[in-house]
Amino acid sequence: MIRLAKSEKELKEVANKLRLDVIEMTSEAGSGHPGGSLSSADLMAVLYFRVMNHRPSDPSWDGRDRFILSKGHVAPILYASLAESGYFPVDELMTLRKINSRLQGHPVRGKVPGVEMSTGSLGQGLSMACGFALAAKMDGKKHRVYCLIGDGELQSGMNWEAAMFASQYKLNNLVAFVDRNRLQISGCTDDVMSIEPLERKWESFGWRVVTVDGHNIGQIINACNWAKRARTRPTVVIMNTIKGKGVSFMENNVAFHGKSCNQEEAVCAENELEEAMRFCR
């Protein structure tokens, strides 16, 4: 378990520890989605170990910030973040996708402490997040709602229904992150179904938009701080990322969208990530 609230350098190390967990758990499971998990690791480190108000020992604490993983297939990075921040034992990560495990292939509300909502069918998380954010407004509560969306997932129209709703209802307590790694199962998002121009799309839907390097801890933190200053509009942070980030042979390799490493690859990946962690120290 890693303690919360870290320096930028420490957060980089945490992100790599989460990546290491992802490689280990998906390799042990023999399946899963490591590519998008690795691209989201820096954001998850920032959210769970620095930005979000939460109490791992009290998962239903009313004042907690809510996190909705719309791209539910990257459950491994969520489970790693929850385990490493203390929601459940880190050892349990090795039960991912196995029979009778709480750690289902996609997150399930009520099964795993810290999982706010069942997700996995793409395109629906932002609507759910709108509901959470609206409830907070209705009840005069101050917590924030964070939602991580995949870039390919934005091809689903329900996101844009939710985007309209969030600006209509002035959900300034809502922050969406787009993991813009530019790859989906069938290839490049541009080739499958382009979502460009992405910034202008969100802007035209009435959102505040900021684009960051999704692997730059400082930029992610700054974007989260900027989101907190929203007065009337929801905020979207578009994170330019690299699918499979942190493991040389997985980077920008669409094959690892939904495939785990074999034994040899896993050893190689773990060595690279351990080396990167030593570099952080």
Binding site: G120, S121, S127, M128, G131, F132, F165
Partner: protein
């Protein structure tokens, strides 16, 4: 004496009465005037949420609200509520077992002139197949009111359906509604008529027609289709030996299927299903459509005669 009252008007009245409950939130997709959620909006605009013509988003938003402790009523027409949003309901309401009440109006062929696109004839089937989902189809306006109050108390996802037009009352104002309980309205010995929604009234009329021929029909209002009241259904069929089901819905997947599944497993007996066949509806007046699609009380009586003949 029965009166002609619209179920949706009583849904609106019930929501109005529920407005005093702070946890109730009502969602609309640009049909508040038609679904009568406008009644809630009038008295409680702060907990009325207009999502626009975006039903899938409405279900997603419902799940976030319900996760935060709200009791959510989300309403639109039956076709959109269940068909357009089926997978959203599966993920956002049924799987996490959240407190979302999807209440649909304009179900069945009695929508009439708007035609097939607006006639929900598959909604019960779609909702019944979802784990954790309770499916309710009240018989009249009074029962709709009571059922709305009951589902507001119940913790979990519910689908409730009703038609558009006024329907004859078969229950009394203030009668208690228990989720999962079917009601025997008329006792009989020769055949069980299981009706749901406004077809319960047609079953009562059919029983009257049969009585003139010396056939004693039992009429049961099955307003909760899931979970089905196994005890009442089996007790009735064990007494009469055969059954007719009647619903303003496809004969595939609705009440007819639910009752047939139970009877074939537990008490094999002849069952005749009244409902629309494997086909879409069309434009026309509700009365004309009821005749054309075989949903009248005479059709039910004829089905009863067939069922009785098939008894060993």
């Amino acid at each position: 004496m029965s009166q002609m009252l619209a179920q949706r008007d009583y849904y609106g009245k019930a929501l109005r009465a529920l407005a005093c409950r702070e946890d109730i939130v009502v969602l609309d997709a640009d049909l508040a005037g038609s679904t009568k959620t406008s009644e809630f909006q009038k008295v409680c605009p702060e907990r009325f949420v207009e999502v626009g013509i975006a039903e899938q988003n409405m279900i997603g938003i419902s799940s976030g609200l319900a996760a935060e402790g709200k009791t959510v009523f989300a309403s639109t027409f039956g076709v959109f509520a269940t068909g357009r949003c089926w997978e959203q309901i599966r993920l956002c309401a049924a799987y996490p077992k959240l407190n979302i009440k999807i209440v649909a109006t304009h179900c069945g062929i009695s929508v009439g002139e708007d035609g097939a696109t607006h006639q929900a004839l598959e909604d019960i089937s779609l909702m019944r197949t979802l784990p954790n989902m309770t499916v309710i189809s009240p018989a009249d306006a009074y029962e709709t009111y009571a059922a709305t109050m009951a589902i507001a108390e119940y913790d979990g996802p519910v689908y409730m359906r009703m038609g558009r037009s006024p329907v004859p009352t078969v229950s009394k104002e203030g009668e208690k509604f228990t989720i999962g309980k079917a009601k025997v309205l008329l006792e009989g010995k020769d055949v069980s008529l299981f009706g749901t929604g406004q077809m319960v009234f047609n079953c009562i009329e059919a029983a009257e027609e049969l009585r003139k021929e010396g056939i004693s029909a039992e009429v049961i209002n099955v307003s909760t289709i899931k979970p089905l009241d196994r005890e009442t259904v089996l007790a009735s069929v064990s007494g009469t030996g055969c059954a007719v089901t009647a619903e303003e819905h496809s004969i595939i997947g609705g009440l007819g299927s639910a009752v047939s599944e139970l009877i074939s497993e537990e008490l094999p007996s002849p069952v005749q299903r009244i409902g629309t066949m494997d086909m879409f509806g069309e434009s026309g007046s509700p009365a004309e459509l009821f005749v054309k699609y075989g949903l009248t009380s005479s059709d039910i009586a004829e089905a009863a005669r067939r069922a009785i003949k098939k008894k060993r």
